[in-house]
Amino acid sequence: MPVTVHIPGALREFTAGRATVEIAFSNGTVADALTLLWTLYPGVRDRVVNEQGEVRQHINIFVGNENIRYTGGLASPVADGSQISIVPAVSGG
């Protein structure tokens, strides 16, 4: 089953307007799934990770309902059919 990546509104300019992107993918890591996403939609990459490939400080990535910060970061496993969400953190002023 493909993995579904949920794209926040601010980044849909770079996914041809798509709110979700399905990625043909079987068992790997979040980094693997995101690399495929960057391949499809390269504009998303620099908004989500920095030059060093690290997830930006105020961006959270969830696999299902788990924030990958607490499950191994980009090395967190992604099972078939998972839902990956890219979500800006609630912060600011």
Binding site: G9, A10, L11, R12, E13, F14, A16, G17, R18, A19, T20, P42, G43, R45, D46, R47, V48, N50, E51, Q52, E54, R56, H58, I59, P88, A89, G92
Partner: protein, 705 residues
Amino acid sequence: MIGQVLGHCRIVAKIGEGGMGVVYRAYDEVLHRDVAIKVVRKNAGFDTSAGQNLLQEARASSSLAHPNICTIYEVGETEDGLYIVMELVEGKSLHAMSAAGGLPPESVLRYGVQIASALTRAHDRGIVHRDLKTSNIVVSSDGLVKVLDFGLAKRVGGGILDAPTMSFSTVQGASSVSGTLPYMAPEILRGDPADARSDLWALGVVLYELASGHLPFEGRTGFEISSSIMREIPKPLGPPIPPGLWAIIQRSLAKEPVLRYQRASEVQAAIEAVQSGAIVTAAPSTDQATPPRISTMHTVRHAQVKKGDFLLLIGTTKGAFILRSNAQRTRWELGGPYFHGHAVYALAYDARGRRRIWASTSSFWGTLLRSSDDFGKSWTNPQQAPVRFPTDTGLSLKNIWQITLGPQDEPEVLYCGVEPAALFETRDAGETWSLVRGLFDHPHRPRWMPGNGGLALHSIVLDPTNKQRMYIAISSGGVYRTEDAGATWTAQNRGIRALFMPDKYPEFGQCVHKITLHPAHPERLFLQNHWGIYRSDNCAENWTDISNGVPSDFGFPIVMHPHNPDCAYVVPVESEEFRCACDGRLRVYRTRNAGTSWEPLMRGLPQKQAYETVLRDAMTVDSCDPTGIYFGTRSGQLYGSRDEGKSWNKIHDGLPAIVCLRSAIIEDGSVMPIRTSPKQAGAMGSRSRSASHQKSHRPARSSKR
């Protein structure tokens, strides 16, 4: 009226009463059916021609045979007024049903799709409702939605409508504004004609109200409601509202009609998609040739810039603005905000054979360098961040603090000063940027310390007489100079204090806040330090403290007079801890003798309880004669002086915290630029390229924002 016959209908009972009319239950004695009759009295506020218009509209609407539209059977006139015979709908209005706190999402979707279907039919026939609202929509006992009063609002104003909420109407014929204020689209409030998309806005309001039980735009007065409609973003609706429904509402409530759904059938299809469990995006459909625009619920005004205009480019912590004026600099028009919610710490106007505004934007999503060739109407939004640290540095870009133009005769050269402290340059007008390794590899770099604002390279100063020479300043690292076009750099801080260090006069590590150089006197620089104001007359070999008589030598900006190399301006703040105008008196200090003495400039500036702060790039000068000086405060106030600082006017207030200010006079795109500020007027670089060698390829432009 009870017992009277109108047409072939006998009035049975009174159902309700509105501003201009009474609604009765009646019985059609010919067709043997129950009907409703709305009787509109002649004295209710419209003249004969308006009455005729009402009749015409009602007749047109009577052609709308649709299960979700309350059918109009007949219209007619009596001595007392007009009457409209219509389908009797027995049920509850959506207003009554949602007043107790909103409906379940499935009900919102079920009713929403029926309303959208009704609008689709009407719009296909060229009929716009103009007063769609929850009190005009009734749900019958079997769950069927009926939209009432189609087409009736067009000519007669709000008075005829049964308005439980405030009406905003005039009865002046075709140009009148009709409808009910909380449901009115921004374009109607602006005085533009309503069209089908105005109905779709109202549908968005209805859906929001059904889902939440309250209106998206509220206020105690009509003015407050209007302001909310024009400017505010409704409070987001979270669970249990499905994201797809919220996306539909957001797009329906886009302030600009072009950003909404364009047809009711699109809304209907979107609601049906949510009902079926599919995910709906807030953005327009994906099969368009141009990148779709995201439904961002805000209004961006564009300043109409023309040749000869004077501009102030304003960077704030929440976006950029373009303030336009005529050459007299007396009347101002504000464009923006651009880059909603993104901090804009650096701006530059590039007139070297083009008319380009450069801006750095910083947000959750990273820092980008963007540009506009049409004064903000469209901006580049590059797929890949153009200014980026190479992987081997192990660093990532936090902010771009400074954008500095290269020499006049090298229009493809620009520089960026960034955080963490580093210098980037482009030699192809921004297509590609490279890290200036000569500075990055400096052995001092590991020992530079971040200041309060981070480890920022915030000043880049070119020597217009020597393309090999250039200065940069870092907080906290100090001043560095190159004499070989960036290959090697030396610390140039002799005489500058660093009170926070054990050695008060170290070789480097000073917290320099700003440096500036006069193009006509390029060996002279002025410097505002963390503590101390300094001048150098020998290309930064030595610095002399010149804070003679200022109330505080702590401050951020320092700018030079464009024509007088002995004249500079600072805005002292009280202390390292307080960082606000001394004693609550907002004063600019000017020297006209290269720092031997300073005079306060205060006429027109608040002198009581004005605890303002002017940040390092929030002050600039123009090249007019007499010179104009401008500064913005952290509280969003913008002041200007057209007489070299003698007197000041508040140009604007209410802006977000101002962090950057630049001026420009708009000449022909092909002419050389004015000196927008001394620090932009230099020249630097080792290779000469003419404008004719510019690449024509530009990064993709987005019409967003």
